[in-house]
Amino acid sequence: MSVSMPSFLNCISDDDFAHYEVDDYQKCVAKWCSGCGDFGALNATKRLLAKEQLQPENTVFVSGIGCSSRFPHYVNSYGFHGIHGRALPIATGVKLTRPELDVFVVMGDGDCCSIGTAHWIHAIRYNMDMTVLLLDNNIYGLTKKQTSPTTPIGFSTNTMPRGSYLPPLNPLTATLGVSNASFVAQTADWIPAHMYATLQAAYEHKGFSFVRILQRCPKFTPDVFTDAVKNPDNNELLVHENGIDAPGLEKLFKNRIIHDPKDLDGGRHYAEVENRVRLGLFYRNGELPCYEDTREVVSVTAAEKIQKINTEFDRYAV
């Protein structure tokens, strides 16, 4: 998502604007389980909002249904807690008609990659300027432990008690397969600095910024990310001068791949799962037009409209 204020305005004194602290973006106490990775995502997001000094009244968070989709209730901004799988159409309606608003979309893995698949794939195509958080805990949290598309094969759930049947869907390669994909990144709730930097880059990107956040669900998938959480060596960072810059991670995270986010083939290649969790920016293309710009409307007065309709009627006149 683009920075809403052009940079030449930076010289204007801050006094002209209300100033928001991180906590000003908190609406009410978040009610996730203790240890839930959604807290981290919420915190990183609030930090971003404060950093960018987004006006709460001009910021909209849209979500579907799921634990993660409670997100908008906890942010001091406008919010739309929609229906399961349909956050993106709602967000599209908002952005298309009010492009000046900053739009964030928060979805769970079931929400986005199962019931919401069609909207996800097509939203990538529309490439509207919005920041999209996929909170991927590899499970249906809210409905209490059913297999989601990203659940590991063999993992036992309430709907697949003898182990999930399919290899997990890879949201990164799927996104990268869609024409017009413009920003695809992955981060993890256990590396707050990386998560914050990723959200920052996503926000700065003009276009559909898709961020998959690997999110711990201590309740139902306590172990799926344990290897990566416990041992930094099981993480692998994609780095590049044009990539995501999260200073201070070099020491802890030794496994690094230099990958230019311009390289789509490479991005697709690295997005394939291997033995480590790969975090970073897989692809970015800031040149692709945004649908809301393509569809920008002219402003017409009521009087002009009446006149136009009358001209229209002339075509139909008896």
Partner: protein
Amino acid sequence: MTSSAPALAKGEAKSELNDSLDTGAKKVFCVPEHTVEIIANSGEGAQKCGQIFGSVSAKMGNGVWTVEIIPAEIEPPPRHVTSTSGNLIRFGTEQITNWGDRTKLAVAFNEQVLLSRHRLDSLDDECIILVEDMWENHDDENIRKEWATAMEEMSSANYRIVKVPIEEESLKIVDNPHHGKNMFALGMLAEVYQRDLDLIKKQIANIFRRKPAKVTELNIALVELGIQWARENLDFQFDVPAKVHEEARVVMNGNQATALGAIAAGMEFCAMYPITPATSVSHELCDIIESYGGMVHQAEDEIAAAGVAIGASYAGKVALTVTSGPGMALKTEFMALAVMTEMPLVLVDVQRGGPSTGLPTKVEQSDLLAALYGQHGDAPRVVMAPATIEDCFQSMITARRIAETFRTLVIVLTDANLATGVQQFPRPQLDERWQEAPLDLSAVPEGTLPYDWDHSTGLSRRIIPGQANGQYTVTGLAHDEFSKVSYEPESNELGCNMRSRKLAVFQSTLKPPTVVGDEEGDLLIVGWGSTRGAIEEAVGRARADKLKVSSCHLTFMSPLEPGLKEIFSRFKRVMTVEINYSDRLGDPYITAENRRLGQMCWLLRAHTLVDIDCWTRVPGQPLRPGDIHNAIVSHLENGAAS
């Protein structure tokens, strides 16, 4: 086959016509109205011919109703009974409100398309038929046989068949035998009905304005050839007197009226997914809405279309979504969200035949109960149905007003009959206030509630993103005035209450429907939607026969207009007439107890507890006044018997 033929004076006029055709004497018949159709293989331009004829007749001052005749396939095989494409035009001295009964004069480019109309029982028993003669003695033996068999089958009717060398004549002017015949046919019709040639020329010039001038010239030459041929070879003419109209008038079909209505209502945003017969509403909108600063978004599916529209409404726009039955089915869940979140939304359902994919191009009125009750949970919404093309326009203005005033979902039920039917009506007066944006972005007072329900009316103030101090989170979960999720019994009861109360408040602003005919009598026919014209015509005929019948047409189905029970009580019997399914008494296993009734009938029984009967049909066609008339007569006869 019916013998009612209001277009011709009864008895003598007909035989006179027959005489004149038989004897060769040229004769002009003055009739108050006539129904003409032109039919051909698809691709032969019959539609264009019919449209010009209809529009010229309207401009001359005739009342006109035009119906498209569309084949099932995109490009069906030529010379086949499934291929018929064309136009039916009913026109008369007075306003014409429906497609009427059967066709009085047909122009057919081959005998197979003619046969299809015969089989559909579309042609008056005494129909005059101008049919292309080249097939009778065609080189291809199969074709000769087909001709003979078709003629044999049609000989059961008393058609006056006139064979016309349409193609042979047209080839005098054009090279391609598939082109130009339609303009020749138009010429014949122009001569038979004495249409204004200048108007025809203007219309043709307008149609081909983007083509080389030569094209217009050629087409006009063909028309003139048709005129000449008819003058020399046909020994009859019809005179359908026209009226001079003081007020300005426009002529269009229902989908065009709906689209223009949406624009006139200030609707700035339409999200849709293509579906017949609704798509052409969007086509019209797509063509022009951008120049009004608006937008049509074609979504990936109907679910998304509904969601995008709701998003746009949330963002403060006047949002519309247009669809047909299967598409509305997919929007079911989002419609409930609109109700629960009190998001103003207008949904137009252009009804087609159902269930399932059903009859995609054909008319039915069977989405009423789905529109009323499709959602799980209690989801009150407004449902209304325009009855005329003009209504299609006006209902969009009304729908927007209701949606915004009551923060509600408004479903507008039109249908395939209105969608493609063409009619003229007084040019609407526009109002600049209709164009006003729902809200500006000014800050709201701190502490303003997103659902600050007035506990007596259920109404509340709408807040949109951009309004400072208004930040709140919409949710489809049960919620309180703060829009906070709440599972408390009281708060759920209150929410349900407030959403429902709005309907009662809206209902209190409505007037009882008017009764057409006497205010009391033996039978009241109740209708809704596109059947109005046919019903009122049928009731008019029955009243002319001194039957004590009146009719009453409903616009609002949710909430229902007031006074219905009182109105019904003044009639011995009440019967709805609808284009939807009902079981028929007398059929095996069907009893008065288990009989499934017409949808409006069912609704009105629950509402009024009056023992309302219904006469419904699902032929995939508009109802004919003659058939309704028969139903009225036989209903009254049964009544007398019982």
